[in-house]
Amino acid sequence: MTASDRLDIDGLLADPATRIVVCCGAGGVGKTTTAAAIGVRAAEVHGRRTVVLTIDPARRLAQSMGLSELDNTPRQVKGIDAENGGELHAMMLDMKRTFDEVVQQHTTPQRAAEIFANPFYQAMSSTFAGTQEYMAMEKLGQLRATDEWDLIVVDTPPSRSALDFLDAPARLSRFLDGRMLRMLLAPARTGGRSMFSLVTASFGLFSRTVQKVLGAQLLTDLSGFVAALDSMFGGFRQRADETYRILQDPQTAFLLVAAPERDAVREAAYFAERLVAERMPLAGLVLNRMHRSEVPGLPADRSEAAAGALDATGDHKLTADALRIHANLVRQTEREQKVAATFTDAFPAVPAVSVTAQPADVHDVDGLRTIGALLA
């Protein structure tokens, strides 16, 4: 950890130029908790009107912020100290509803109704790989556009890979731009009544295969869906590009969140490389769940040897236990430092901060305040 500067979270949150903080990292590293703790600190200590956009929070953490359901609207969090003039609001992303809203904005009510009824839309809006990421970006764009918030803190979706978050808008555009879609759309665009008449003529192999594998009803649904999507094509593309630009803007700060585990740190390193390559503003690394010994001067081996010696005498069994607990803790600390160093050695210019592991999980505002103080 000596290689990097310490990440100055307070400096970041106090700066009015910081408008968006994006927390990203592998699943299970405490991203949501970090995002919520940053929100509490920004509101209470820095007096900022803050909204936290969470994607899939643990139930008890959500409840601690007063969120009981997906409702896509920021709700004010109770129990926040308003002395400095700040407020904290929180919301859970409703992926399907956000997608529906996008559709409604870009097409006529009649067309929207057709799209909503299409089984492909239903499948895509709830399960399309990347829809959650794309909709998180969409919601971020909406929150930013209202200009109602001093600070927006985003918790990224629990993707199989942290990189999905950056790639989703591009993947969706690529999908909409794809040759396949163009081919299916060709008849619709030329006003042909049966889209597959043209496709059949120009690309009989494909349609024959699709017919064989999927059946005719499915093709009708699919053609309806792609034709409908086509009407919103430009809008989708434009919004994805706009959000991407917001992310590159210096008003945004990316925080990588990791736990001291090999996979999580490797993921953070990949992400750091990507952010640099895409010229996204990387503010620093938050290392959650780091352990810390209270007696750093007593080495593990010596502690364990002493425990063994006490066992032999038969007295002081409790002290022997305590010494073994200490030895394990020191070894764990050393292991974690080593794992963390794989990141800090590779990215010495990226500031980092360690957050000491809490004995129990955090699920109230007090706990979030504690984490916020450890971060800052």
């Binding site: 699943g27 299970g28 590293v29 899939d56 643990a58 008890r60 089984p119 492909f120 239903q122 499948a123 895509m124 399960t127 399309f128 629990p158 199989r160 890979s161 999908f175 794809g178 040759r179 396949m180 879609l181 192999l205 494909f206 295969t209 699709v210 064989k212 594998v213 999927l214 059946g215 499915l218 736990a259 585990e261 996979d263 490797r266 010994s293 209270e294 007696v295 001067g297 007593l298 502690s303 010696a309 006490l310 005498t313 007295d315 002081h316 069994k317 409790l318 002290t319 022997a320 236990d321 305590a322 010494l323 607990i325 200490h326 394990n328 803790l329 292991r335 004995p359 129990a360 999980d361």
Partner: protein, 317 residues
């Protein structure tokens, strides 16, 4: 193993768990353990993460069943990273003899399109490939004694395995429907079993309980709950007072100044808080009625020796 009772009776073992619980390591260890005694097992991943290659420190796996480990007694583990595109091509080829035409489809992006627009279709292809490997015969013998699937995490496992429901939304009849029905039947038979990996931490345990409820509702059989990275309880009796620590440290010839004593007392207290929480969580998991298997925390991380240790622990359990 020379045991009378086969403790892992299924042939297809689906391993899920919250991200970060070590499900890939557990799946690999299970494949190694089940290969003991001259058996052949297949370890499969489906999410394109190349987690198996990272774990075994090999080159990224192609869409091919390759040996990644030999086990004492003549057993072997093969590994396969299923790619949905390749699986679709293979599927088309098997049923429609497409050959070069299939490659043409890929060239125009048809495959990407089909697997993107209908995620249920993608999952049918992935699980379909797993089913094929599980039921495959060679020279009148089964190709694999066991297949272990490193499955998607708990948050997605229900949807992933409930292939019929997902594809039924899109295809009412046709070969895809037939395929998904046969996968669904396999997953609900005693041949397969879903194991959930968790840590003794609140969120993974909650997700484990949620996943078990979801799978039960889908009538997909749950096998075991695997507690990964457990640590032995270290304080067995009594309350550790500072006075006792001071005397004990002096007796052991260690510094017994107030800072050391207070520091140690703080460490013990945190450890006890953790231990109590772990006990509560363990009890919650026990209440499900599914057998718990405990795997030790590997102090040096998961290397080859560590995997063997986990494999042995799984086979003893």
């Amino acid at each position: 193993m020379g045991e009378q009772v086969n403790r892992w009776p299924a042939r297809l073992h689906v391993v899920t768990g919250k991200g970060g619980t070590g499900k890939t390591s557990v799946a690999a260890a299970l494949a190694l353990g089940l290969a003991a005694g001259g058996k052949r097992t297949l370890l499969v991943e489906v999410e394109g993460r190349q987690g198996i290659a990272q774990l075994f420190e090999t080159e990224p796996l192609p869409y091919k069943e390759l040996r990644i480990a030999q086990v004492a007694g003549g057993g072997e583990v093969r590994a396969l990273a299923v790619d949905p595109e390749e699986a679709l091509l293979e599927y088309l080829d098997m049923f429609y003899h497409l050959g070069a035409a299939g490659r043409a489809l890929r060239k125009v992006g048809a495959i990407d399109f089909a697997t993107t627009i209908a995620p249920g279709l993608r999952d049918v292809l992935l699980t379909g490939k797993v089913k094929e490997a599980t039921t495959r015969s060679q020279d009148g013998k089964r190709a694999y004694d066991a297949v272990v699937l490193d499955a998607p995490p708990t948050g997605r496992i229900g949807r992933f395995l409930n292939v019929t429901a997902e594809t039924a939304k899109l295809a009412k009849v046709g070969p895809i429907k037939t395929q998904s029905d046969s996968v669904a039947a396999l997953l609900r038979s005693p041949i397969s079993s879903v194991h959930v990996v968790t840590l003794l931490e609140e969120m993974p345990v909650q997700e484990t309980l949620d996943a078990i409820a979801e799978l039960t509702a889908l009538r997909i059989p749950v096998g075991r709950i695997i507690l990964n990275a457990t640590r032995p309880a270290l304080v067995t009796s009594g309350r550790v007072t500072k006075a006792e620590l001071k005397r004990g440290l002096a007796e052991a010839g260690l510094p017994s100044d107030p800072a050391t004593v207070t520091g140690l007392a703080t460490e013990v207290k945190a450890h006890l808080t953790r231990q109590e929480l772990e006990e509560t969580l363990r009890a919650e998991l026990s209440e499900t009625g599914y057998p718990l298997v405990e795997l030790p925390l590997l102090p040096r991380g998961v290397d080859q020796a560590g995997l063997d240790e986990l494999a042995a622990a799984l086979m003893r359990a």
